[in-house]
Structure formats: structure tokens, C-alpha cells
Symmetry: C2
Subunit: 200 residues, 2 copies
């Protein structure tokens, strides 16, 4: 577990030194191109200095190598997305995408009768929304409109429009939703929070 991390951490210094030597660069020269003092570079390569991002980023640029390559982190990423569903207001949300940026795909599950008798509570946020009903009938409140999507039906809209989803009847509803990419903003939860929105 943590051994793994420690191993990578301990290997970063030597790895950096090897890379530098291989390129025929001196500490002094590297210090010039990165703006990092020689002493710090020395300590970093010998493991007497923690490899912080403020050091790794300039180095990655100097060496023209991604950070992961720099630190030699094992690229043991499972290509399959392992969904970690969570619940928000009784609605189960299954994130189907992994990467922080770009499109975000979810599957939403509304248990039977979840929104029974509830007041629609439309919210708005940045982005563009596309959705597709897998099961059940989805009530969509969108701006002034209030309509129902049946199984296999789809919809798309700009999420600046206040919107809200609910069960159309007393059966449970499942639907895909794909969020994108209006200035790389993110849909996160019902209420829009300024700082969820900062860096995609």
C-alpha cells in the first residue's frame, strides 16, 4: 500500500539524477533553465529534499517529459472504469468517466416514488447536458417547460436553464446523462457552488 508510494518516492531522486546525466546536463546548467538553485537540485537528486510539484513541474518542462515519466510512477491503471456509485438526495449517481477533464458521463437511478409529492427544485449551472432514459419515465422540468421522457427517449439542453429531474410515476427511473464542456465546467450537485466550478 504505502510501501508502493514510498518506493516511488525514494526512487525519484536517483531517477532524476540518472536522467540528467544521460542528457549530459550539469546541475548548474539545469539550475539556470529551471530557476531552481543548485543546492536544491542536488538535495533533490540525492533524496534529501522532497520532490514537490514546484520542483517537478519546471523539471518536467526542462526535460520535455510528463511528470509521470519523471517520477516513474507505475502506470498500472485499470483501463476499465470501476464505478463508485454514490447517493445524492436519494438518487443514486454512478460516475462512468475517470478523467478530470472533458466529458463526464453518469448513470442516474431514481428509486420508485423518490420524488413523490416533492416540489420541483430546478437549479442551473454551467455546461451542456445530454440524457437518455434507460428505464421508467423521467419527469423533466426545464425552464418553463415540464415534460416526461419515456424509455428510449433523449433530450439535450444548455444547463444555464434551471432544470430538475423526477419520477414521472411511481416506478423507478434510470437514465444516462452526459455533461460537457461549456468552458470545461462541471456538473456536481444540485446546488451550484462557485468553487466547484473553478478548474474544470
Amino acid at each position: 500500500m504505502s510501501d508502493d508510494v514510498d518506493a516511488v518516492l525514494a526512487a525519484v531522486g536517483p531517477r532524476l539524477r540518472a536522467l540528467r546525466r544521460r542528457r549530459g546536463v550539469t546541475l548548474t546548467a539545469l539550475a539556470e533553465t529551471t530557476g531552481i538553485p543548485v543546492s536544491t537540485l542536488s538535495r533533490l537528486e540525492s533524496g534529501h529534499r522532497k520532490p514537490g510539484l514546484e520542483l517537478l513541474l519546471p523539471l518536467a518542462r526542462a526535460y520535455q517529459v510528463p511528470v509521470d515519466e519523471l517520477i516513474g510512477a507505475p502506470a498500472d491503471l485499470d483501463p476499465r472504469v470501476r464505478p463508485q456509485p454514490f447517493t445524492r438526495n436519494g438518487m443514486t449517481v454512478v460516475p462512468l468517466t475517470r478523467k478530470p477533464g472533458g466529458l463526464q458521463a453518469y448513470k442516474h437511478i431514481l428509486p420508485a416514488g423518490l420524488t413523490e409529492g416533492r416540489e420541483p427544485d430546478p437549479r442551473s449551472h454551467e455546461g451542456y447536458h445530454w440524457l437518455y432514459v434507460l428505464r421508467g419515465r423521467l419527469r423533466v422540468v426545464l425552464g418553463e417547460k415540464d415534460f416526461v421522457l419515456a424509455e428510449g427517449e433523449a433530450a439535450e439542453f444548455d444547463t444555464h436553464l434551471p432544470h430538475w429531474f423526477g419520477n414521472a410515476d411511481d416506478h423507478h427511473v434510470e437514465f444516462f446523462s452526459i455533461l460537457g464542456s461549456q468552458g470545461e465546467r462541471v456538473h456536481i450537485k444540485a446546488r451550484f457552488r462557485p468553487d466547484d466550478d473553478r478548474a474544470l
Copy 2:
């Protein structure tokens, strides 16, 4: 220059927070799976804590995302390798590979008469060596053997054998050399240094 780095650095916190929210994970839960205390996570996401590797690595594993993706470092790497030749003992070395790990390719240039009258000084190190003479005639001292490679000729050997290269006559010599990958060790300079060898 440094603005760029600062920008990325400042964006890491918010980016981490956005990612966590998107996954529907609480600080407490994340603290459990990563072993990082809640307070630290909070400070990290709010930018009051430096994003050190000892934090980013567990996070990258928890989120199943490479570190570069985590921090949103611009992937503006030039696919072309931009060689940065350097000189070692009068011999010009042109690194043709960029990645720290795996195979390493070089072009070596020995100016005319560089090794004239010099004593061969064979050294050994870890790895496997393959080479190809582009121009001139290359003298290769390899263990007990001492031979000459002409243009277009190639050789390969285990670098545990002490070896040395020189001009076979008074013309300049150019040759490719590809180093690999015996336990991921690296050819760096004439003399073998223990710590050049640690982490590929």
C-alpha cells in the same frame, strides 16, 4: 515561464476538489482510502498546502488517474525529440531518446584523430549495447578482442564486458548506439558510478 508553473500549481487544489465532488466522495472517506488526514486534504484542496508527491501519489491511486491528469499539467510535449548534444572527453554525444525508462538511443561523434595515441580505457557497466557505424571506421576494444567496424557494420554485446571506442584511423567517426534494458540500467559516462545506476 514561471507563471505557467504557478498557474498549474494554483489550479491543483480546486481541480482536486472538483474531481472529488464529481466522484461523490467525502474528505473523510478519501482520508480513509489514502491514509491522508482530513485536515491535510482540506488544506490541499483549498490551496493552503503544497501538493507534494507524498500526497499526489496516493490520490492518483485512489482516483485511478495518472498524476499528470490529476494536476492538469498542459500536455504540450513536442512529439519530436529535440536533441541536445553534449561533449564528453572530446566525443560528441547526441541523446535521441527522451523517456527516462526503456531503451536509450544515441548518436556518437568522434572527431578526426580524437583518440590518436591514447590508451584504450575499457569500462564496464550494466546493460546491453547495440551499435551501427554511420561514418568512418570505429575501433572497438571489447574484453580481450580489439577490432574495427567499417561503415554500415554493426555490433552487439553485453556491457558487462569492459569496452572502449576509438577512431580506427585519422578520420572522424559517427555511430549510433542503442542501450538497453538489462534490469533497466543505464549507460551514462565512461566510468561506472554506483548511483547513476540505481533507478534506471
